[in-house]
Amino acid sequence: MELADKLRVLTESAKYDVACTSSGTDRVCPSDGIGSACSSGLCHAFAGDGRCISLLKILMSNACCYDCAYCVNRVSNDIPRATLTPDEIADITINFYRRNYIEGLFLSSGVIGNPDNTMQLMIKTIELLRYKHKFYGYVHAKAIPGAAEHLIERLGMLVDRMSSNIELPSSDSLRLLAPNKSRDDVLSPMRYISGKLKAKTKGFASAGQSTQMIIGATPESDLQIISLAEGLYGSYGLRRVFYSAYVAVADNSNLPAVGTAPPLLREHRLYQADWLMRYYGFKSYEILDKSRPYFNEYLDPKCNWAVNHPEFFPVDVNRADYERLLRVPGIGVKSARRILTARRYGKLDADALRRLGVVMKRAKYFIEGGGGIAAADSPSRAAAALTAMGRAESAAQLSLFDILPALGQESPIEV
């Protein structure tokens, strides 16, 4: 197979992995090397689906010997197979990098024979980049489930970020759909990597660890998913949990039928909830609970929380502390900080708030001072108005996905 064909096949096979950030680490280049990393991450292009392209995201091989039902690369699927050599991958990475097409490499692979063999080939590739080409750019590698710990350790010493995908949000689903992987195969690399990171092992995956799960292939509720994510952030110290709307690729009675639209709104809501947990001080049980285990279609999770907690409002923008400001729909992390700074020099009115980046059409229902119209009856009015806004937006096809920073980017969504 020609190099271009191999690249096509192995990109097609890798594209359902969402993680594409190049963030989390800062590194300058020595005078005889090439490449650097900057902690905010860079996107060098946006694909036709609007997702950021930061890394050369490919599989080493898609000739996988496992049979995970939800995956295009499963051994029982009839697709073209290809494998790139370590030299080929290193060469493409460097030449794309020099042209400023990419920030680095995201290498993963189907299982080539067995997990250890696969990991050895991946290690060889990244060693070539680091030692022969003196490449100091960003590298993200996936730990292959079931690989030996000493190989995970070696790989970890070469890369900026490691991920091991949890794949599905429950072990029942995993048992049903990924017959060759046990829950332990999936969790043990994650546990091992998190141990290394907690021990602050120098040079080991300095941009931390992330994981991904597929949404909508299996029956877990939104509440189950965000609780799992919360648990992963807590116990494994993950940097990111990524959610990937399942694209129906397989004829299997345990999966949505081929052609079922990927649940994009649900994925969007999960990312919003994820931001609330990581940056806004929300707990999963505040966002959803047993009586309401699914997201509201028309209200984002923050508005939804706000209209259900009238006792918390109105918030006085000229007095409230940071945590309280953050709870107001229309005030984000940035605008909350700017409010704290600006109000030291005078009272804030509606114009000033707008200049500080507050989205008044949302915030006005929840604030006091600064042009708020918070009144005794406003929670219900707010709920009605915001829901109408949500409806109008989806009706006008003013797609929510336009305001969502491309998946995998780090910049906070201001909600």
Binding site: L7, T11, D32, D49, G50, K57, N95
Partner: protein
């Protein structure tokens, strides 16, 4: 300080020139209706001489009273293409010399807000150009032609110098007619009137093709979303992409 709407200052377009215009505001005791580097105008013009000493005095004032952060805001606003940047900077300095370092936080004051917006626009454009410029390898050197909306070349060059210490590269800003060259220890910003690169070779063609293959294959087609793509990657960059890398 009062404004006079019937007079404009014309300076030579340099940073020092702009600082001298600010200096003049103090000696004239007013802020003119415009501070510009364009000479074609019907209003009464006062031509500002660029005098290094005066510029240095203004810089010293800014640094000692308003601080480093304020200076950085002013420099970034200066690199912007906004027509009203001259007056905005003069107003900001006049206010800052009275209020001190806290001026940068007076976000609810219009001229402070304006400076922040200008600096932010320049910051955003810098960021986008660092992300989206494409190099082509031509005769062993990496070459890039850009068309930024603000004069951001001086701000993007350091990123590539530190990233590609061993490469020879040249970035040409077609809009502001500036070039930046990096070759070994040489790092230079030059006024360049025009630049046509030589045709590229087979190697270059090979990697452009591979990039296009990758770009097309990475899209999840059931999620195609042109609006989102254009939001993030504005159309004005596409002409350059098409020439250098197709995307």
């Amino acid at each position: 300080m009062k404004r006079r709407e019937d007079i404009i200052y014309v300076y030579d377009g340099s940073y020092n020139g702009l600082l001298c215009a600010v200096f003049n505001c103090y000696t004239d005791k007013f802020i003119p209706s415009e501070i510009t580097d364009k000479r074609d105008t019907l209003l009464t013009c006062k031509y500002i001489d660029t005098d290094k000493d005066k510029a240095r005095r203004v810089t010293r004032g800014i640094l000692s009273v308003m601080g480093k952060e304020a200076e950085w805001l002013i420099k970034k606003a200066y690199l912007s293409d906004f027509e009203d940047k001259g007056v905005a900077i003069a107003e900001f300095v006049v206010l800052g010399m009275r209020e001190g370092a806290k001026v940068i936080n007076m976000l609810a004051t219009p001229c402070v807000d304006k400076i922040h917006r200008m600096a932010k626009a320049v910051g955003n454009e810098t960021h986008r150009n660092i992300e989206f410029i494409r190099f082509s390898e031509i005769n062993g050197a990496l070459v890039s032609i850009i068309q930024p909306t603000h004069s951001v070349l001086p701000l993007i060059a350091p990123h590539f110098v530190s990233r590609f210490p061993c490469e020879k590269f040249f970035i040409y800003d077609k809009v502001h007619k500036q070039g930046f060259i990096h070759d070994g220890g040489r790092n230079e910003l030059l006024a360049v009137d025009g630049f046509e690169p030589d045709a590229h070779g087979e190697e270059e063609e090979k990697y452009r093709n591979l990039w296009q293959v990758f770009y097309d294959a990475i899209e999840i087609t059931p999620r195609h979303n042109d609006r989102c793509r254009l939001n993030h990657m504005p159309l004005r960059f596409w002409e350059d992409f098409m020439k250098a890398s197709r995307y």
